[in-house]
Amino acid sequence: MPLLLHLADVHLGARHADMGAAAVKQRERQSTAFSRAIDEGLKANVDAALICGDLFDSNAQSRRSVEHTVAELKRLTDRGIRVVIIPGTHDVYDNRSIYRAFDLPRMAGLPDGSDLLTILTPERPELLIKELDLIVYGRVFATKQAPRSPLDGFSVHTDERASWKVGMIHGSRRIPGKVDSDDVLFSDAEIAASGLDYLALGHWHSYSSGRAGDTTWAYAGAPEAVAVDQDGAGGICLVRLEDGAGSARDAGSAGSAGHAGSVHVERIRVGRTGFLAESVDASSLADQEELVRRLAELADPDLVLRATIDGLALDNLEIDTDEVERALAPAFLHVRVRDRSVTELSAGPELPSDTVAGRFVADVEARRRAAEAKGDQDAAEEARQILRLGRRLLLDDPNHVTLP
């Protein structure tokens, strides 16, 4: 009954262009989540660890980064746990692949011929682990974009070398209408026809699992989320291949009763970073303090908050997003506040046209209307903001107006 650790999409060394100074922290968190995933594997005493692509965010990683990663993998191999890796679409197995440039098994101190740390490639597409009665198939291409489905014509029905048959793919399940194109694409029908007991998948950063025919498949998701809209990220999978009939154990796990046994997938959380995109209706805000107060209610040191102020903003609402970010920064991993609101000018007093203020308002209003008539929303919004600022400067005490 082999017990497998399934993880993918660690994206070590990833860039986080929209996280500013917090990007460094997020990279460290990704590294920490990977380390935690190894810890979980050791704790569960898994028989093998399957890393389904994109372990590295690119092939241009430094030796230091690779050595650090290998040191983590070595913790498994030192315990005799096999590590099987397939390249992905970021660390693609091209002629500059990390897996070609670095001899990972040797870096892990393994002797020649050892299969404790194996990179499955087009040249070496499978690994037979006799003592586990398990064979692992890596469906890998040497290009980022697959020339065909990795499961095209693939079937293990006649392979009698081992009882348990596990596949590894880094690619997308075709979902008609939703996912119709990607670098690597395969279908449920192909999964069902493969005859695999379990198909370990990578590429999608959110966890998902299911069955196709007698094959159980699962995306482990990224151990640490790397962007918003990755609610299912932050986890790894423990996959138990059990002899005899079995069934899904609990919620959050997928199970199947393939050939002679069953496959149980259990998801374990190792990531901590949360990404939250929060939209704030500008019309509901009285002032900047209220915005800070409301966003502060979401305070979480593990949260990357992307707050967007949208809707209609009254002209007396002055938001300095820099100030808001500074005020909230200590309470979050990272905060980014963007004002996308459209200025809604209050009716305000109708100013006599022979005054500067009156003429100003009339001129800018005319400009705004012209822009709106032309459909130039940017120019219209600029005119609104000019109008708002001008009215505040001219009709209020300008000393109370801040020009950040």
Binding site: D354, V356, G358, G390
Partner: protein, 857 residues
């Protein structure tokens, strides 16, 4: 709009105040802290502030200890319609109500809109910029022309503080963003430079990463190529080793075969030698045999010789008679020669020696002579030999006997020795000995040949058995090598050519492998020397992204700032142009009147509303400061207040002057107040003048005197929700008492205003007010009959039509308790004021002569 009654309840210091301003000039006098400014503030808040506004100044309007919120009630007249405005500023208990002509409304927005329409003033800021003249606004009129211009500009700005502050702030902000200087670079430059720096660093980093990728790819290619060549090389080296082995085996086989052949021959030779040795003719060593045979042969020869000698001696003895019997005779030949000579002499005689015949005879005879002589000589020799032979023969005969005896002895010895020698070698005669020697020598020669051949074969071993063993071993070795070669398969067919072929391949593979290794090493060197860190480059990209985002934000901000600044400046230019033309048109007649016709043309700079008048002497425009102080004051005041009509679209809101002339000396101040009063009367404005001085009492159409703050009031604080009196007058102790006096009555001796403003004759002086209600379009603002009068004199026109309700001088006059620094000046200037009484300005703005629409830009 004209305020007919103002009532304040619990508004700051005013627990209850009730005043009824005149239609013209109402002077509200009170000492410091009497609440004069509070009255101005109350009017301002009532007119322009929502009752429920959450503002600090509104909160501060609460009277100390009051339980009820401050309330302002204004009764007014608007174009003949009576109206009431009530504002109670109490947070949740706020109330606002506007009633006009019996129709009431409580909606704050509607009230504000209606009031803006009534007053022509849309906001507090606008109010402060126009209808309210602060106590320091006119300080420097005539002294600081730029400030004067600023004040006028402020009046047309519609803004509380004019546009200057706003523009300065915007300019400062734009400068803060746009400055390009190296020492204090603007925000845009900073972020631009940061972006440029990051772009440069990122480009370098990306290039380094690209190089790293490329070098790694080259390394991988070279590495894989080298490994492939290494495999190929190992295979070729294995082939080479096999070929070499095959070649060695072949050599071994050949050597073994050769050895076999050699040993085989050697064995044969040794066997033949042994056979020869076994069949030798004699056992006597060849040398000894050869010596014996030779000795025997010598003996045999000696015997033969001896035998021959005996024969010769015998023969010699037999041959003794062969000696000539007579000795030779040479003389005969000599005699013959002499004959011939004689014959010759005879012949010569006979024949002559000189003839041919004689010659021939002589020659023949000579030859005969010579021959005879030669024969004679030869025979002489023989004659000597004959004698010797004769002597020898005699000696030999004697010796022969001796020789015969010695020879006999030698012969016998030789025969014995010969026999002994032949017996020694086992033969009977010399011939047998010779035959034995010959056969022995032949066998020995054969053996020597064999030994020579063996030597030539290099075989030293002479033991036939061992030779046979060695030969057999060589045969086995040959077999073994042959079998090994057969096991090598085709490589054994032609190991040499295979070896050559493999060596050729190796010669190609080795350099290729070395080249790949070199390329691999070089690529590895480049990879190792490339210190780029992908995460560091990622950091640069992230910083660049943030900086670009910031740049977009800064660009947006500065765009808004610049747009706002440009729009304000544009609006200002247009507005000032209108105002300048407006002032030029209306102030021309006024300046003529103010200067008794000396100046009749005025030019207003449309950039800043600066005045210039045309000097009659030079017909050129000169600075307005060349006019007298009083004229300058009047000009500015007229312009300042006149602009109110312009910018309020002739709504004529009540003007509030908060001790605007407090710093003026008495003469100047009174002149200014007279101008204001005249302006108010002529233009239909209501003016509330708040002052702490009583020097304007006499000019007031209505005078309100406020008591100063009393100790009792202070001691009474905080009040315990005192019951509010039903009337406004609750007592001086806790309530400000409004006291109105007729200015003329209070100061009967005071000079009456001398400036005469012509009343506006227009039935509706509001042609530029499109928002005016149509039903009220024909209505004129209510004015007092007194204000409408075209002219009045100090003697005939009282300041107020209403009877005095309080003494003209309050019992507790604030001036009595506080010094009035201008009082002495006032008195001294009164004489000068008198001189100006008759200098009137009928219609400084000529508003009654035409509508606003007639103003040409």
């Amino acid at each position: 709009m004209r305020i007919t009654r103002l009532r304040l309840s619990d508004f700051k210091t005013h627990a209850s105040l009730d005043i009824k301003p005149a239609a013209g000039l109402t002077v509200i006098r009170g000492p410091n802290e009497a609440g004069k400014s509070s009255i101005a503030q109350a009017i301002e808040l009532a007119l322009f502030c929502k009752a429920d506004a959450e503002r600090e100044d509104v909160r501060q309007a609460w009277a100390w200890g009051a339980s009820e919120p401050p309330e302002v009630r204004i009764e007014f007249d608007f174009e003949g319609q009576a109206g009431t405005l009530v504002k109670r500023f109490g947070g949740a208990r706020s109330e606002g109500e506007l009633t006009i002509d019996g129709r009431a409304g409580t909606d704050g927005a509607l009230i504000a809109e209606k009031l803006a329409d009534i007053t022509g003033i849309p906001s507090e800021a606008f109010f402060r910029a126009t209808a309210k003249v602060g106590h320091s606004e006119l300080d420097r009129v005539g002294g600081d022309e730029p400030e004067l211009h600023d004040r006028l500009q402020q009046a047309v700005s519609g803004a509380d503080r004019g546009t200057a502050t706003a523009k300065k702030m915007l300019e400062a902000a734009v400068r803060r963003y746009r400055t390009e200087g190296p020492k204090n670079p603007g925000l845009l430059k900073v972020v631009r430079e940061e972006i440029a720096m990051l772009e440069g660093e990122l480009a370098n980093g990306e290039a380094a990463l690209a190089r790293l990728g490329s070098d790694r790819a080259q390394w991988v290619t070279a590495h894989e190529r080298r490994e492939e060549l290494e495999v190929q090389l190992r295979r070729q080296q294995a082939d080479l080793a096999e070929a070499q082995r095959a070649e060695a085996l072949a050599m071994r086989r050949d050597r073994a075969a050769e050895q076999y052949e050699r040993l085989k021959r050697a064995a044969s030779l040794v066997e033949e030698g042994e056979r020869l040795r076994g069949h030798m003719p004699t056992a006597i060593p060849l040398v000894q045999l050869r010596s014996a045979a030779s000795h025997a042969r010598g003996l045999d020869f000696e015997i033969s010789e001896l035998e021959a000698e005996v024969s010769i001696v015998d023969a010699t003895a037999d041959d003794g008679g062969e000696l000539p019997t007579a000795p030779p005779r040479p003389l005969r030949w000599l005699a013959l020669a002499a004959v011939f000579v004689a014959l010759g002499a005879l012949a010569s005689f006979l024949l002559g020696a000189t003839g041919l015949l004689g010659g021939i005879v002589m020659l023949a005879l000579a030859v005969c002579v010579v021959v005879c002589l030669a024969q004679a000589v030869r025979l002489a020799g023989r004659r000597r030999q004959y004698g010797l032979a004769m002597r020898l023969a005699e000696s030999a005969s004697m010796q022969r006997a001796d020789v015969d005896r010695a020879q006999q002895e030698q012969f016998r010895r030789a025969r014995r020795e010969l026999e002994s020698t032949l017996a020694g070698i086992g033969v009977d005669d010399v011939e047998a000995a010779e035959a034995l020697l010959a056969s022995t020598e032949k066998q020995t020669e054969a053996l020597a040949y064999i030994e020579g051949e063996l030597h030539g074969l290099g075989i030293k071993e002479t033991n036939l058995r061992r030779l046979v063993e060695a030969r057999d071993e060589a045969a086995s070795e040959t077999e073994r090598a042959s079998h090994a070669l057969v096991a090598l398969g085709s490589r054994a067919d032609d190991p040499a050519s295979i070896l050559a072929s493999v060596q050729r391949l190796l010669a190609q593979t080795l350099p290729a492998r070395d080249a790949a290794r070199s390329e691999e090493d070089q690529a590895q060197g480049r990879v190792d020397s490339n210190q780029v860190d992908a995460e560091m480059v990622a950091g640069l990209a992230e910083r660049l992204s943030a900086a670009r985002e910031r740049q977009v934000e800064l660009d947006r901000r500065v765009l808004v700032y610049q747009g706002t600044l440009a729009a304000i400046e544009s609006a200002e230019r247009a507005t000032l142009k209108t105002a300048a033309r407006f002032l030029e048109e209306r102030m021309g007649p006024m300046i003529a009147r103010l200067t008794d016709g000396r100046y009749d043309d005025i030019q207003v700079d449309e950039r800043n509303l600066a005045f210039r008048v045309r000097a009659p002497e030079t017909a050129e425009f000169v600075d307005v400061r060349q006019l007298s102080q009083g004229t300058a004051d009047q000009l500015f005041l007229a312009a300042r207040l006149g602009l109110v009509r312009l910018v309020t679209m002739d709504r004529r809101p009540p003007l509030i002057l908060d001790d605007s002339f407090v710093t003026f000396d008495t003469t100047r101040g009174e002149r200014a107040v007279r101008l204001v009063k005249q302006f108010a009367a002529e233009q239909g404005f209501q003016v509330l003048y708040l002052t702490c001085s009583d020097r304007f009492d006499k000019l007031a159409d209505e005078l309100v005197v406020l008591p100063g703050p009393s100790n009792e009031r202070v001691l009474a604080l905080p009040r315990q929700a005192p019951a509010k009196p039903a009337t406004a007058e609750r007592g001086a102790a806790t309530t400000a008492v409004a006291k109105t006096v007729a200015a003329g009555a209070s100061r009967p001796d005071a000079p009456a205003p001398t400036l005469r403003f012509a009343p506006d004759p227009r039935p509706n002086p509001d042609p530029v007010a499109p928002r005016r209600d149509t039903d009220g379009a024909a209505a004129k603002p209510a004015r007092s009959a007194e204000a409408a009068k075209p002219a009045r004199s100090a003697e005939s026109v009282p300041a107020s039509p209403r009877p005095a309700r309080v003494p003209p001088r309050p019992a507790v006059a604030p001036e009595a308790n506080e010094p009035d620094p201008l009082e002495s000046l006032r008195r001294a200037a009164e004489a000068a004021t008198e001189a100006e009484r008759d200098t009137g300005i009928a219609d400084p703005f000529g508003l009654r002569r035409g509508s606003r629409d007639e103003v040409s830009d």
